[in-house]
């Protein structure tokens, strides 16, 4: 088998499978889906071997393909949801703020600074947070994870999710309000 453009497809699995898998799991929180995405990535890479220009490393190239697979996945499953969020920003906050812009209720999941630092340490709270995060529309969730877990720059996130910067800020703000709501409800139970 010829190695085109310095691509060493025989060793892809050995060299990159774990890294790519971990990357996908962080973003999708779904191991089975991540396995499929990694496998698809390798297959796509194989098919488009001749398109590899060699101006990036093999690894960077594989990551780029995987990123696109992840975005495609989210695009398929979340376009509708997200559009509603962006369209109905006013409606969406109706249950949180009154017409005069004041809080409708003062429920909260943190009541003191002391409690705040305890929550950050609490495993149970982390689990509730994860649950609330995964309830968010997918693109919102992803934007939030990229920002807060991966620490990516705004520009990079917008490019990856194919959204404008102002959409991105709306999504993040909506995410914070929804998370507050969800965490408060779950904590009161």
């Amino acid at each position: 088998m010829a190695n085109e453009n310095n691509l060493d497809s025989n060793n892809w699995v050995a060299n990159y499978a774990n890294q790519l898998f971990a990357f996908a799991v962080v973003r999708t929180k779904n191991q089975a889906l991540s396995e499929d995405l990694v496998q698809d990535t390798f297959l796509s890479a194989l098919k488009s071997k001749e398109k590899f220009k060699g101006n990036s490393s093999e690894k960077t190239w594989l990551y780029a393909i995987l990123k696109n697979k992840i975005i495609d996945h989210y695009r398929k499953s979340s376009t509708k949801n997200e559009q509603n969020i962006l369209d109905d920003d006013e409606k969406n906050t109706d249950n949180i703020f009154a017409d005069n812009g004041h809080w409708k209720n003062q429920n909260a999941f943190v009541s003191s600074k002391d409690e705040a630092s305890k929550l950050v340490e609490s495993k149970e709270f982390h689990e509730i947070l994860e649950k609330c995060l995964s309830n968010l529309p997918l693109k919102t969730q992803l934007a939030f994870r990229y920002k807060h877990i991966d620490g990516l720059e705004t520009e990079e996130i917008c490019k990856e999710l194919d959204i404008t910067a102002s959409n991105y800020w709306v999504l993040l703000h909506r995410a914070r309000l929804s998370l507050k709501d969800c965490l408060t409800k779950n904590k009161m139970r």
């Binding site: 699995v13 774990n18 191991q31 194989l46 812009g101 004041h102 807060h148 800020w169 703000h173």
Partner: protein, 78 residues
């Protein structure tokens, strides 16, 4: 003077962008006099801090899965 709805937007904005001088002052004053908004600010900090400490105990693929992938790749590369 901003209302609570607008103030929560500033709390969010401050995490991602630079606030103008006017926005900074308005935010400070509002948070000082409005406990629910101050709480919202604390809550967003708690969420960020939690996610920061999310230890990514790196998941790895099983050897079987890797072997399966190798096989599929081999059968496709000929």
């Amino acid at each position: 003077m901003f209302n609570c709805k607008k103030t929560t937007r500033l709390v969010s904005k401050k995490i991602d962008q630079k606030l103008s001088f006017f926005e900074k002052i308005s935010l400070k004053i509002h948070l000082f006099i409005c406990p629910p908004c101050a709480t919202f600010k604390t809550e967003t900090d708690v969420i960020s801090d939690c996610l920061k400490t999310t230890t990514s105990n790196t998941p790895t693929l099983s050897e079987e899965k890797k072997e399966a992938m190798k096989k599929i790749l081999n059968s496709n590369s000929i």
